[in-house]
């Protein structure tokens, strides 16, 4: 008892700090979509510097890649030119099909989603630790951003907003294993093939689809899209391509390795989906508006 008393002030102080920090984690870790005043102040003050340094980093990265991969760039350039030429033709065809599609939808009275109100944002920071897969973007609640809003690029789904400050927001990427997204196989769109896609820590940069029933119609090369269930992500956004299909660890269900459509290492600009319900209003309204067309094309 005497020994405890002799050591208690230091030990108690130390334990008090540890407990205080644990309580702080508990308090701030759950149901916290907005930052505190101090966090807001620090992040607002530092976001222009982050943006500037991020641009420098991007230039340095481009330079390093250019130096190390000049041959690959030349080859990629040639291939891209070919793809671009083909894409122009496809684009015209797609626009025609899109118009036809809208006419048919109107005729049939479909209530499926087609339009999103998008807000562009720049990526100003990435989590440098390996613990979380998050990015910081230069749009916050001042610009109308709210928690859970989906974040996309022209290639596909990126993730969703999970913390919002005045001028910046943190986005939880698809590759973060804390998140799961309900998906469908684009080829079949069979609700029986619905699964959940989540981050795959064993294969960095890849995703995996779990909880697929044994009879699920899924194969290597299939494109995975968001199912729209849960109300966070709009339906039909491309998530990635199936690389491998196999049994899960218990041999009862199927699982699939998925290469994300988005290159998470090269994210520089993203779009925030401001309102996924917007599409329904747009469906009923004038779908030839220029802004809507731009938004739609950016998602193709």
């Amino acid at each position: 008892m005497l020994r405890l008393t002799r050591f208690s002030p230091k030990l108690l102080g130390f334990l008090a700090i540890v407990i205080l920090l644990l309580a702080l984690i508990n308090f701030t870790g759950e149901h916290r979509s907005r930052y505190t005043f101090i966090e807001n102040l620090v992040l607002t003050a530092i976001s222009p510097v982050q943006g500037f340094i991020s641009e420098l980093g991007s230039s340095a990265s481009d330079f390093l890649q250019g130096v190390t991969g000049y041959r690959e760039i030349l080859e990629e350039n040639r291939e891209l030119r070919e793809v671009l030429a083909a894409r122009d033709t496809y684009r015209q065809e797609l626009l025609e099909l899109q118009k036809e599609n809208f006419r048919l939808r109107e005729m049939l009275g479909f209530q499926e989603r087609t339009e999103y109100e998008l807000l562009p944002a720049e990526v100003i920071a990435r989590d440098p630790t390996h613990w979380f897969e998050t990015i910081t973007i230069n749009r916050g609640y001042y610009h109308g951003i709210e928690e859970k809003m989906a974040v996309v690029t022209a290639e596909g789904l990126v993730g969703n907003v999970f913390q919002v400050s005045r001028n910046t927001s943190k986005v939880l990427l698809l590759t973060d294993s804390r998140r799961a997204v309900s998906i469908l196989v684009q080829r079949s769109r069979d609700p029986g093939t619905a699964g959940i896609v989540e981050g795959y820590p064993e294969e960095e940069g890849y995703l995996r689809v779990i909880n697929l029933p044994p009879e699920a119609n899924i194969q290597s090369g299939d494109t995975i899209i968001s199912s729209g269930m849960g109300g966070v992500f709009p339906k039909g956004l491309i998530v990635g391509e199936v690389m491998e299909v196999g049994k899960d660890q218990y041999g009862l269900l199927q699982q699939a390795l998925v290469r994300p459509a988005v290159n998470f290492n090269r994210l520089e600009e993203v779009f925030i989906v401001l309102d996924i319900r917007q599409e329904e209003e747009n469906m009923e309204g004038n779908f030839s508006m220029e802004g809507q067309r731009e938004g739609r094309e950016s998602l193709l």
Binding site: I17, L22, L24, I25, L43, Q50, P128
Partner: protein
């Protein structure tokens, strides 16, 4: 700026400034330049080296302050990195009592073990709040050890700079 315990504020203000610079660089520059692979936690190396030089009490304060800053920048909750950095810095300050400060091997080994401790604490917190992604020993083998060796090697270059800066009272301008 001295208070009654002999702790001056100037070093902490300088460290806060340095920490902000390091965090901005880590999040916005290194994250883009080192696209793949494990990125170094320069802030941890600096904090461990300074705790090694200044002792466990000041180290603990350094760990809390810089950890809280990291929480604001990247943490999912406040206190997450603060707890990990505080305990790692405290550990470094404690074991520095038995090690020569002017020889590079001591701080390099301290950084090595402090890194494993830092990552293990984060692993436990992540597992507790969000569930474990992978087994502890798999994480040690595939990530923690690699990162510890990485930091071990970087300390070879960073410790002499920090040591000289400390000796020249860079962190304590009033003593220059």
């Amino acid at each position: 700026m001295d208070n009654e315990n002999g702790i001056t504020l100037a070093p902490y203000l300088i460290i806060i400034f340095l920490a902000v610079i390091l965090l901005v660089l880590e999040g916005s520059f290194f994250a883009l330049v080192f696209l793949r692979g494990i990125k170094p936690d320069l802030l941890l190396i600096v904090i461990v080296c300074l705790s090694f030089l200044w002792g466990e009490k000041k180290g603990m304060i350094l760990g809390i302050i810089t950890g809280l800053l990291q929480d604001i920048f990247f943490g999912p909750a406040i206190g997450f990195f603060a707890l990990a950095k505080m305990l790692s810095a405290y550990f470094s300050g404690l074991i520095s009592r038995e090690i020569y400060k002017d020889q590079i091997v001591g701080p390099m080994l301290t950084v090595f073990f402090a890194t494993i401790m830092h990552e293990s604490i984060l692993y436990m917190l992540v597992s507790f709040y969000w569930g474990a992604e992978m087994g502890f020993f798999v994480a040690v083998e595939s990530i923690f050890l690699f990162r510890a060796f990485y930091h071990f090697a970087l300390t070879l270059f960073l410790y002499p700079i920090i040591y000289k800066a400390d000796r020249a009272n860079f962190f304590n301008p009033s003593y220059r």
